[in-house]
Structure formats: C-alpha cells, structure tokens
Amino acid sequence: MITTDILIIGAGPTGLFAVFEAGLLKLKCHLIDALPQIGGQCSEIYPKKPIYDIPGFPEILAGELTDNLMEQCQQFQPGFTLGERAETIEKHADGTFIVTTNKGTKHQASVVAIAGGLGSFEPRKPPISNISDFEDRGVEYIIKDPEIYRNKSIVIAGGGDSALDWSIFLSKIASKVTLIHRRNEFRGALDSVEKVQELKNKGLVNLVTPAEVTSIIGHKHVTGVTVKKSLDSDEEFNLMCDHFIPLFGLSPKLGPIANWGLNIEKNAIKVNNSLDYQTNIPGVFAIGDVNTYPGKLKLILCGFHEATLMCQAAYRIINPGKKYILKYTTVSGIDGFDGTRKEAPKAVVKKIE
C-alpha cells in the first residue's frame, strides 16, 4: 500500500504543479498516470510544439514545460505509479480514500485530486471486424514485453514514431517484421525513417505500402492477416504471421473515473469553482482540463490556479483547525523534503565611503 497526503490522478502539467504547491504546505503527493511517462498530453501528443500562453514564458515547448515542472517540484519528492490506470476508489471509515489501479496497486490518501485531462490514454483500435476475437491472442495494441516476439513473425501497422521505432527494435529479435502503412510517407523522427529505409534495403524489414490490414486470419490465435494493396484497388493477399501489432496512437477516454459517483457533464467533472474545485464527493477534487464549471477554460494556466486553490483546501482537510498564513516563496524560501533549501540571497549592506 502506497500512502501519501494528496493522491493525484494524472501526471500532466496541472498534476505536476499541484505537487509543488502541496510541497509548500508540507503535503506529500503521489501521482498515478496511465501513460508510462509524465507530462500527459504535453508529452504524448505534442512534446515538440510550442505553447505561447504560459505566464512568463513567451514561448516554450510542451516537452520543455514538462521538464521544468518536474524540476520545480522534485525537491518535494513526488511518488509515481506510471503505466497504470486508476480503476476504483473506496472511502474508509477513517475518512481516507483507497484508489486501486488496473494492475492492483493500492494507494491510500486523505485527499484525491483528479487531474486527468481528457482522460486516460487508450490505444486506438483499428475498425477491423474480427479484431476483438484476437486481442491477447496475437493482437497487441501496446508492446509490453518485446521478448514474446523473439523468433516470431510480426506484422506492424501504422505510420508514426511508434510503428517505426518498434519495427526497428523488433527487427533484431523477431524472425520477420512486416510494416504496413496506408501510404509511402511516414511521420516520424527523421533518423527513424532513415533507419527503417536502411533495414528495408537490407531486407530486414518487409515494407508494404500503400496498404492496409482488412482482416485477421486464425483459429484461436493469429496465423496471418489479410492485406489490401492500396486504397483504389480491391486486390488483397494474405500474409502469414504470429502477431499483429496495430500502432495507431492513443486517444483519451474518461474511463473508470466516470463510474466513481462524480457529477459528470459533457465528459468533465463538475466542481465548486467558487471555493476549492471540490467535486460532489468531499475530499475528492478535480483540477485542470478534467473539470467543468461555469466559464471553464481548458488552459494549462487555469489548471495551475486550480491546483493551487485545491492544495489550500487539502491542507485544511489534512490539518483540521490549524492556523495557516500564506507565505511567499521569495520571502520564506523553499524547504524540500529531501533536505535541500532554496532561498533568496541576502541583500548586501555595505557602507560607501
């Protein structure tokens, strides 16, 4: 059991900034995120795109913003459960919450802050009629353990970075790798595209473009796929393989949070914006893009503000009746949980003679 003061669901910009604000109040945070890395949409969808409306940053790349937020909060030693999706929540008699992930990891906290953005990122499944019959029977949307592909024949579909990168990686261990994409152009890092070109020239990756997989062949397990050559012709052929890995990116879905008994309106969680961004469940807050209230704007900068006020409310829940006065970081400095201290340099007072 992981225990913490504030359990934050979602490690995007809002969740990361909440760690900093909570730290100023001496509250410890742990974050759960379905993605294997922090940053949320900023790292999953647009890490190399600039953002122009972060106060104080005329221009910053989304990936850089994530790095900065992590640097800013790291002295407060946040814990992370990455690559797992928050599945259930229960309230204990002592008032704490237990949140369990899809992998069974349990987290206990007095306050839960949902900073889930548009939801947890789930793989986009291609609309192939019989694909669901083969899930985990040779069809995998996410590569968890590359070893299962050793000496197997693999078909990968997709045209982005993950399709390219996994084709490169699996070409070293699989007996055969075929990469199928609807057109000849790939969108990915230039060196990945060049590497796949090189592997294709050497005959180590079998490239089939423009083409798409239209159905899956097999009895209980994948034994092959049917491929349609180009979009214009109806010409199809079968390709034998042991695994079919469609890599078409991820799309966010609100997911299990929708069943937590929260007031939900238009795929967002209703909160009290006049006070503290608390949901209809006392002790459960929703901050950032995942919440809604009259006049809501889905902006990172609004998420920062919401995170800050949420932490104040969390402080009052965790320290009932305790007096509190707002401190400015410039005045008080920052005492990290790791023993570090940041503070403004003392003014130099020296006589001029």
Partner: protein, 110 residues
C-alpha cells in the same frame, strides 16, 4: 448577419443541422462544431486543432473547392480510421466566405 455563412453539419447520429458560422472569428470547422455542441465535448478536438488526433474528421459532402491538405493533415488522415476519399480534418478548414453552403458529415468517433 453578413459576418456569418451557412454550413450544414450532419452529426454522428445522422441528424442534419444548418448553422451560422462566423467568418470574422478566425474559427475553423472543428471549433464551429464544438461551439454548437454538435459532437459530445471530449470526443472532438482532442489535440486542440494541431492535426494530431483526427477526432474532428469530417466527410465533405458538397462540391466546394477547399484548400489542399498540408503534410500534417495528410499524415494524420493516413493513420485515422473510417477514412474516405472526401475525408478532411475539421480543424484544418478555416471558415471563410468561399465555403458558404458547405455540407459535411462528422466521421465516427474512434
């Protein structure tokens, strides 16, 4: 209302809506659809309009000449599902007087 053009949008339930789209707000088709809430919030415009998610894919049903697809739209559509000859990303289509009378259908959610 000379700042508006008429657009027909068929939503994901097959219902047709004729809406007024402003030409003076630098809006794109995805944003207009969201403004009128013709697709459930959270199922359209996921990436905010960067041609990086295809949640605003539409089928163009009228014969308007639209600006050519840029590379990023072309690339995204090549990875999207339910793509047809007349597929476009709504976020890449600017509202301007040339598309008066445009008729589109929102592609299924994927």
């Amino acid at each position: 209302m000379d700042q508006d053009i008429k657009i027909t949008v068929i939503d994901r339930n097959g219902v047709s809506h004729v809406i007024d789209a402003p030409i003076d707000m630098a809006m794109n088709l995805m944003e207009v659809i969201r403004t009128y809430e013709l697709a459930t919030e959270g199922t359209i415009g996921t990436c905010g309009g960067m041609a990086m998610c295809a949640s605003c894919q539409c089928y163009i049903l009228s014969n308007h000449r639209l600006p050519e697809k840029q590379d990023d739209e072309e690339a995204m559509l090549s990875e999207a599902f339910y793509v047809k000859e007349n597929s476009r990303l709504g976020c890449q289509i600017q509202i301007n007087p040339e598309i008066e009378g445009l008729k589109i259908e929102i592609a299924p959610e994927s």
